[in-house]
């Protein structure tokens, strides 16, 4: 589990890593620790999955990826483990989850988010997913976002 120092490390790096030649030493100085401890803790947090990855976190919209399609699929329960893994492995799928159905309005249990420069580009990618999924999906749809009503970063208490 996370200890108090990990929590401080989260708070200190939530805005990003210092843009200096020795960023881990800069963090260490700020937290009153030594560089080796910062590096070893970050490595541990990566290993346990508390940190998903370290690097550039792109802003899709600012990069021109303004079409955001949530593709949703009604996949037979016995096939979802295999299908989900294959869909998630596509390089243009940014999130891929199984979620509960809410019938009759919402029969879908597999969600795969697809970004593109245009809606047509997203539709073409969804068509690729459809080929991959094949008859395991009884139905699918793409829900495009028409407006961003709110977008804030993840907030983690220190």
């Amino acid at each position: 589990m996370l200890d108090a120092i990990d929590r401080k490390l989260i708070a200190t790096t939530q805005a990003g890593l210092p843009l200096v030649a020795e960023p881990y030493r800069a963090l260490a100085d700020e937290l009153g620790l030594d560089e080796a401890e910062i590096v070893s803790r970050l490595g541990q947090l990566l290993e346990t999955g508390a940190i998903r990855r370290i690097g550039a976190i792109p802003n899709h919209y600012a990069l021109g990826y303004t079409a955001n399609g949530m593709s949703v699929w009604d996949v037979a329960d016995e096939a979802i483990a295999e299908i989900g893994a294959r869909v998630g492995a596509l390089d243009f799928v940014t999130h891929c989850y199984e979620r509960p159905r809410h019938p009759p309005l919402w029969p879908y249990n597999l969600f795969a988010m697809v970004h593109g420069r245009t809606r047509d580009e997203v539709r073409a990618k969804v068509a690729e997913i459809a080929v991959l999924v094949g008859p395991a999906a009884r139905a699918h749809e793409v829900l495009f976002s028409t407006r961003i009503l709110k977008k804030t970063g993840l907030r983690i208490a220190a």
């Binding site: 990003g16 890593l17 891929c96 989850y97 829900l143 977008k151 993840l154």
Partner: protein, 147 residues
Amino acid sequence: MDPTEKAIINGLQGGFPLTHRPYRDAGAQLGLSEGEMIEEIGNLLARGQLSRFGPLWNAEALGGAVCLAAMAVPPDRFDEVAELVNAHPEIAHNYQRDHELNMWFVVSTDAPARIDQVIAEIERETGLGVRAMPKTREFFVGFRVEV
């Protein structure tokens, strides 16, 4: 966007080294000097093309909880309901989508028990049903946006 910026975005969406001089070491792989790396990343951040440069924390692994939820909001009440939903600090994202379920938001809390409370509050305030869609399984994505 020039080739250097593309190289940084495409080549560095993970795997930033845990070394004494990580910008130098990452730059070596991309054919850039340490100074260029620091400057270019700063420029991409200043222009908003990168939201951040650093660790991407996993809220759930940190003890928090995240849940997607959807509502079917009557069109004539849409803006009013959006305001009520967004007023909750636990709402991280909220999107309008083209479906009968036309409002999709993410509830993000420090503790899992808070998710149901926030959803219940929204139902009470709006008089509308909220469909919780917590993930029951996460499939691995190796996502890299290519520019």
